[in-house]
């Protein structure tokens, strides 16, 4: 066999398919990848070090800027960790508002994930179609929290303020239309033969390696592992809603993508049930929380199910009003740990499909 020469290629920081500044140094033999070495850290802003110099409430805006696509779920993780540390009771209405805005945030994140994945595979119209719905959802979130993306809506002990007049009816109306929109996505993107040819049986992941490499979120569930924190370890009031957890069969890029689309349908169901139940619940939106939060000395680790996977907050406090140490277990960062072995022997075009299906967000990878 004639010897072929390998060469190095930068799948570099500035690249349309890397969802931000993320570099993969590829050793290539023709089009086949021999070795892939991911290099991240181009967006490392040292949030964990900054959090040590901020009070407990001032850390909330930093959690928005990590996974800036589902900001409410990041706030929720941090806020529930501190509440667990201080043992604060959250009023009923605040719990419901957290669920509704959290699931809306998950919907915007999954819609963007669907649209950008269609863009990665080459379908620009899929991107435009998904962004049409995303703008509607961001209008609702902006009406509730005042900001489109970096919401900072959760507070330790409750939420910032109550839903404005008529907001819940607007959300309800949009949720009635969502199944129709999701049918459109399926028709345009999921049913597309070229899309299926590019993503089916590409980058397959066995359940054992997925669990061993502690991948989480749609990446784990696409391999058939039934592990969703909202079901297995319910936090907040998730046990009052019934919804299924979509699972994939052979863990390839198509299953990861399709799990996200079906999770959107489940989020719609949760929001509709939450809106039904919040009608007869009213009361304060903020629990009894001292002006200056001084949690007792101790540590807590609390994790919730964010749109990219399990987001976990480890908060250690030394009794002062500033956290002693905040560590964030970031799903996109851990999901990338297995990228090197996963793309060995794969063509470059499939690397784009695999990287898009893991759905990383660089603010979260580099923290």
């Amino acid at each position: 066999m004639l010897k072929t020469q390998e060469y190095c290629l930068n799948f570099g920081p500035q690249h349309p398919a890397t969802h931000g500044v993320f570099q993969v140094i590829l050793t290539l033999d023709g089009e086949k990848i021999v070795k892939a070495e991911p290099v991240c850290g181009y967006l490392h802003r040292g949030i964990e070090k900054l959090a040590e110099a901020r009070t407990y409430t001032q850390v909330i805006p930093y959690t928005d800027r990590m996974d800036y696509l589902a900001a409410m779920l990041q706030n929720l993780g941090y806020v529930q960790a501190v509440e667990k540390l201080m043992g604060i009771e959250v009023p009923e209405r605040a719990e419901y508002l957290r669920i509704i805005s959290g699931e809306l945030s998950r919907l915007t994140s999954h819609v963007l994930g669907t649209g950008v994945y269609a863009l990665d595979i080459g379908g620009f119209t899929g991107f435009l179609l998904c962004f049409r719905e995303r703008e509607k959802m961001m209008d609702l979130l902006e009406e509730l929290t005042g900001s489109r993306m970096t919401l900072s809506y959760a507070r330790i002990g409750g939420v910032a303020d109550d839903a404005p007049e008529g907001w819940l009816e607007k959300v309800d109306r949009l949720m009635d239309e969502m199944p129709g929109y999701i049918e459109e996505y399926n028709g345009l993107i999921t049913g597309n033969e070229i899309f299926q040819a590019r993503t089916k049986f590409v980058g397959e992941l066995t359940p054992e390696t997925a669990v061993n490499y502690s991948l989480s979120g749609p990446v784990l569930r696409a391999s058939g592992v039934n592990y969703d924190l909202r079901k297995n370890m319910p936090y907040g009031i998730y046990d009052r809603f019934d919804f299924e957890v979509p699972l994939g069969t052979n863990g390839d890029c198509f299953d990861r993508f399709y799990c996200r689309v079906r999770e959107m349908e489940q989020s719609v169901r949760i929001i509709k049930q939450a809106i039904e139940q919040i009608k007869e619940v009213d009361g304060p939106v903020m629990g009894k929380v001292p002006k200056v939060l001084k949690p007792p000395k101790g540590e807590v680790y609390h994790e919730i199910e964010s749109s990219k996977g399990i987001i976990g907050y480890y908060v250690a406090s030394d009794g002062s009003n500033k956290p002693y140490r905040v560590h964030v277990r970031r799903p996109s960062f851990v999901n990338l740990g297995y990228l090197d072995e996963m793309v060995r022997g794969v063509l470059i075009a499939d690397l784009v499909a695999i990287l898009g299906s893991i759905d990383i967000v660089l603010g979260e990878v580099d923290c």
């Binding site: 060469y7 190095c8 290629l9 930068n10 570099q23 023709g30 063509l347």
Partner: protein, 117 residues
């Protein structure tokens, strides 16, 4: 002589159109050359390892097949333009020409030149 003038005019207009764009761009463009601009662009970071590498044959085979069938379509154009006032014989002749190329395509397909090794 006159029809040759037509060809000559067509040729010079094409030349002027092409070269003219390049020359005016050279004259009026703002130019700032510095060492980094002349380096190769690879996603914003310097390249790793040596980049003068012999490429694999499958790239060359794909290019070869493309050129063959591209040239074939060029031959089809004049025939298609003068299609309606031609006798039946030229139609048969062109069908034979196309058939020969289809045999070539079938052979390349069978030999696996299209699959990516």
């Amino acid at each position: 002589m006159s029809d040759w003038a037509g060809v000559f005019i067509f040729f010079t207009v094409a030349l002027v159109f092409g070269a003219g764009g390049i020359v005016t761009a050279f004259l009026i463009q703002p130019r700032r050359s510095n060492p980094v601009k002349l380096e190769e662009y690879e996603c914003g970071v310097p390249t790793i390892g040596e980049t003068w590498v012999q490429f694999r044959t499958s790239y060359f085979l794909y290019a070869l097949l493309f050129v063959i069938f591209d040239v074939e379509t060029i031959f089809l154009y004049p025939w298609a333009v003068r299609f309606n006032n031609m006798q039946f014989f030229t139609f048969i002749e062109m069908i034979i020409f196309i058939f020969i190329l289809i045999v070539g395509l079938w052979y390349a397909w069978k030999e696996g030149a299209l699959e990516w090794k």
